[in-house]
Amino acid sequence: MSVSYRRDFLKLCGLAGLGFAAPFRARGVDQPNEPYEGPYYVVFNASGGWDTTYLMDPKGIGGINRLYKEGDILTKGAHKFAPTRKHAQGGMSNEEFFAEFGGELLTFNGLDYSVNNHSPGARYMATGKLDSLAYPTFAALVAACRGSSCPLAFLTFGNYSATGNLVAMSRVPYLPSLKNIALADSIGGNPKAGYHDDFVLDRIEATLGANNEARRTQPRLPRAERGENMLYGAQVNSKALQRVVQYIPKNNPKERLSQQAEIALASFKAGVCVSANLSIGQFDSHANNDKDQMKLIPEFLAGIAYLVRRAADLGIRDLLVVVIQSEMGRTPDYNKGDGKDHWSIGSAMFLGRGIKGNRVLGATDEKQFAVPFDPKTQRIDRLNGDRIRPEHVHEALRELAGIADHPLAKKFPLGVSDERKLRGFWS
């Protein structure tokens, strides 16, 4: 803030009846908030329930897979994966994916989703809490803890997206639509043609600030308090959207996930976003499982690869934390329609900042049941191990993000005792 600007601002504060010590004094008058500089959290959702035996937990026995046999299973470092190159319809095969990313990928197999239905499963995997509608998703929680003042702190493109009233969710269906609103104080988006003279805008902002401050000193209902503060924050912080414009690509990719990735990356790069839920659906392959999964898994992997590669182009790859998940798995056997129904055991994958790759933890047995896992030693323990459920993973994610002890996270406890927490999971 320049000296003259600061002097004018202080004068305005006085005119607007605004105490200098008001918490919003550093913003509100043409000073967009500081860019958020990472880490950036991305949760990929294979919505509908993926077949993990065609990806990171291959079987090839007991009639579980028709497209390959046990002997066809491939490896890359510590990873074992199903061969899909011959069957993939577009997108990226497992061979290509693990070759490129296996070294930085952590896989957990034998995750107990615990339920067999989409809606509770999606909620459980997104929040780590099965029996509450009030909990925020991990992406929302980390956005609230790390950068709730970012105008697009939490982006979502589908899947379960509850926020716990901690942060606003943003849906940006079409990146160029941000262009039209980023310069909201200019007529037709022309920065040289402001609606108001600058001194008028300053007065308006200062008076809104003073009004907000005056409201803060009055008794308010909790809802009103939350709503008014979020509204004020949204308007003030919205100015930072101007930074996105320069990162809006001229040409949009055609693929579903790539489009979502571009919006998230532009927002990350501009420092206006902390986390994003990226999602594609139709994995619910009750009929023709193999055909559907061979179309969708490669599309899904290609979307992940697109995000990571584009992040590298933008110089933010090292700041990404990527969670790759689905709300359930598919049964070990085929139904009469060549499909697979819901299965409550599955896997999740992770890569990015703070995550040591080339590792596979946990396991399923030959019938695709979860093998108990010791959270302390990070080894399977058929006799005394635990069933690892979403709350264990979320507790670990909170620790990875450094928010486990944040007051907002503590408002939403996951109920995992210290001795049952995953230790050394990320490294």
Binding site: A16, A26, M230
Partner: protein
């Protein structure tokens, strides 16, 4: 943490204040209902131990009080308590039989339902001890000083309630006559005024919009003339527009455009039918149970052509060329291209059952070979009985093992049977609507309905075979009689009025604020049930529900008289107050009500950015504003103020909507009289735009006055300031006397700044 984030976080945790506080109430001694029943009975036992449940033949039989008329609830709860007490007193191997059963011992049919040592187990164990005279624990005593729930909460005055309801339901401001009526008669005038308001077309627009947020029938995939009207039954008529005689339009391009327009309007009319049924029922004060029992659908002249019945019904329309005029009609039983596609019907008519049997509803919630109508059954329970069977699904110890252990887990594994025994019979009632994707709606499954599902029926009552042809009517009749129906509809109206769902009972018994949250839920539930009871007792007129909610404390809440800082009191009040961020459609209507025309840009992508829904993939409206929405709010405030300020000043004073009490020549600080006039004008704007009644001498008005005066004074000292209003903000009619927008003293632009400021205030953007 940045400053605004700090401000928000501060508000979440700040709980210290020297001001007088409103304390939370103690908890009454309702320990059976509050603890045992709420935590264990409803959640764990009732699903099986009830008539029609999996354990209906056991000695431990309970009754669901939610399915009981209000007057009988106490008796039902006493019966449930007696059943619990009897079971709690029974012993097996010297141990309480009830506790053994709960952990899956004694061959409990439901296997393990409580973990030993879990909070629920502890609640049950304590109850058992109390029944057996062993408990030393004293239930929480009634706090004799417990204040009423709304103690310390301020309510809107009648004038502001009228404004809130009128904007919400009719998208306009109240008239002077309406304001005068409440000024004279007080709140007693509201029901009459609301009755009149609920005859306006704008109310029905809002009604349809609100109920679409619930049923989402506008979200049918694809072109509805293909997805809703099947090739099998409507192949000759569904594309009528392609053969419609447009020969009177000689120009080929114009003729083509007209055909596209007709097709577009036809599809829109077709999608609109279910919500038009709701409008018809409410407009004509028919019992709202007709949404599941109506033996007719609503068709327009265009959609009647799609059904192939236009010639039969055209006499029902005032204007047979109006695509959006609707009339009630009965479809004949469907006739297929092949005999096997003909619909069974004892009457010769399609067995309409309100919305339930409409092609749009059935298409919006389609089925598949493996889903077996379970989605439809789930949505039926959610939409018409207010029960989300998947919402709070219980976690089982090993769902995969249960799936693998049984040949038909949904009929054998206790943890699956719990839900499927309820869900699958309703799925069976939809069995003759068995077509997938774009293959139509009506049709029977080859080889008959699934044998590995519980048979068709509802809540323990089997569907008689002779009723199969009208199975959805059979379901609708029972739904209308179910006490949960009235409650569910009351909850839908609450959702339409507030933008959020009613509270669910808290589940986390170890939460230190559990009692406070339970009280909040119970108070709201009590109000919901009271309104639902009145709804049922007055012939299911939905308007009564709107009126009852609007005059209730829950709708009229405005703020707090004194600080509520105690966490438990804040938890009690957490959901109290409307404080609803207006949806894009509502915001456009509010702009129209105040300024005479909509902003017009909250459409498509921008509407979605502003938290709107598409009824397909995005089905929940945003509740909190993101930064993108904040930017849109800035754009709206700038643009609307730009468009209307100079234009309003250009009109004669008496015709002005915004500035009837001031002229641009009046300057701040020029004289006390001028300042008074400016303050009165600001007071007027506060009322018109914000709905606030601020005295011209109030701090609120002073703040706005300072903004206005500050801008005018700042402009005085600046060089290079134009003597006219900005080009884009001038009136566009060049013949208009105010077109030049002379503004040498900068007052028009200062007033524009004031309007911009007011349009960014929460009172404008929230309801």
């Amino acid at each position: 943490m940045t400053a605004v984030a700090f401000l928000i976080a501060f508000s979440l945790f700040a709980d210290e204040s020297a001001k007088p506080r409103v304390r939370c109430a103690g908890v009454a001694d309702d320990s059976f209902e509050r603890d045992v029943w709420a935590k264990v009975g409803v959640a764990k036992c009732l699903t099986c131990h009830r008539n029609g449940g999996d354990a209906e033949k056991s000695a431990f039989l309970l009754t669901d009080p939610r399915k009981t008329a209000d007057s009988a609830r106490d008796a039902v709860m006493q019966g449930n308590r007696a059943a619990f007490a009897k079971m709690a007193a029974a012993k097996e191997r010297d141990q309480p039989r009830m506790l053994l059963k709960a952990v899956g011992d004694l061959d409990h049919g439901g296997e393990q339902v409580l973990g030993k040592g879990s909070p629920e187990y502890r609640v049950l164990a304590d109850f058992v001890r109390r029944v057996n005279g062993q408990s030393t624990k004293t239930p929480p005593a009634i706090d004799p000083k417990a204040p009423p729930f709304f103690h310390g909460v301020t309510m809107l005055d009648d004038r502001r309630v009228l404004r809130r309801a009128t904007l919400s339901l009719a998208g306009r401001l109240p008239t002077d006559a309406e304001f005068a009526a409440v000024a004279k008669e007080g709140r007693s005038a509201l029901p009459r005024l609301l009755d009149d308001l609920m005859k306006e077309d704008a109310f029905f627009d809002r009604l349809r919009e609100g109920f679409n947020d619930v049923f989402l029938t506008l979200g049918v995939d694809g072109n509805p003339d293909q997805t809703c009207l099947s090739y099998e039954h409507f192949e000759k008529t569904r594309h009528w527009y392609a053969k419609h005689d447009l020969s009177h339009i000689k120009d080929k391009d114009k003729r083509q455009h007209e055909e596209w327009k007709i097709a577009r309007e036809y599809r829109e009319a077709l999608l609109g039918e279910p919500m038009k049924l709701i409008e018809h029922i409410v407009r004509h004060d028919r019992p709202f149970t007709e949404i599941v029992t109506a033996d007719y659908i609503m068709v327009s002249p265009y959609t009647a052509r799609g059904y192939g019945m236009f010639d039969e019904v055209k006499g029902k329309f005032k204007n047979p060329n109006d695509p959006f005029e609707y009339a009630p009609v009965k479809l004949k039983a469907l006739k297929g291209r092949g005999k096997q596609e003909n619909q069974d019907s004892a009457t010769g008519f399609y067995p309409h059952a309100g919305i339930l049997s409409t092609f749009q509803y059935l298409t919006r919630y389609p089925t598949t070979e493996t889903n077996r109508n379970r989605l439809r059954a789930r949505m039926f329970y959610l939409h018409f009985l207010g029960v989300d069977v998947l919402e709070l699904a219980a976690r089982v110890s090993d769902a995969a093992a249960a799936t693998a252990k049984y040949k038909t887990p949904t009929m054998e594994a206790a943890e699956c049977v719990v839900c499927h025994k309820t869900l699958d019979p309703v799925s069976g009632l939809f069995q003759d609507y068995w077509r997938f994707a774009e293959q139509g709606v009506y049709g029977k499954r080859k080889g008959g309905w699934f044998a590995d599902m519980f048979g068709a029926g509802f809540e323990g009552e089997d569907l008689p075979p002779k009723e199969r042809w009208r199975s959805l009517q059979w379901l609708g009749e029972r739904t209308a009689r179910d006490p949960r129906f009235a409650v569910a509809m009351t909850e839908h109206v609450y959702y339409i009025l507030t933008g959020r769902k009613v509270l669910l009972p808290p589940k986390d018994f170890d939460d230190s604020l559990y009692a406070a949250r339970l009280r909040a839920y119970s108070e709201q539930r009590k109000q919901t049930e009271a309104i639902a009871a009145r709804f049922a007792n007055t012939g299911f007129n939905l308007k009564q529900v709107f009126k009852d909610w609007i005059v209730s404390d829950f709708y009229r809440v405005d703020g707090l008289a004194t600080e509520a800082t105690e966490p438990c009191r804040r938890a009690e009040l957490d959901d109290v107050g409307i404080v609803r961020l207006l949806a894009p459609e509502q915001l456009e209507r509010k702009v129209t009500a105040i300024f005479g025309e909509p902003w017009g840009k909250l459409q498509e992508h921008t509407a979605m950015l502003y938290g709107g829904i598409d009824s397909k993939e995005v089905t929940d409206r945003a509740a909190d504003p993101s930064g993108a929405m904040g930017a849109i709010q800035r754009a709206i405030s700038n643009d609307v103020a730009c468009k209307h300020t100079a234009r309003d000043f250009a009109s004669p004073g008496a015709k002005r909507k915004l500035f009837p009490r001031i002229e641009p020549e009046v300057l701040p600080g020029a004289s006390p009289d001028d300042d008074r006039r400016i303050r009165e004008q600001i007071s007027f704007l506060h009322e018109r735009i914000l709905g606030r009644h601020d005295d011209p001498g109030s701090a609120e008005v002073t703040r706005t006055f300072d903004l206005f005066a500050g801008i005018v004074n700042d402009a005085k000292g600046r060089k290079g300031i134009e003597g006219r209003e900005t080009y884009h903000c001038r009136p566009h009619d060049k013949d208009d006397p105010g077109a030049s927008a002379d503004d040498k003293r900068y007052t028009i632009r200062a007033w524009r700044g004031v309007v911009t400021y007011l349009l960014r205030r929460p009172e404008f953007l929230y309801e």
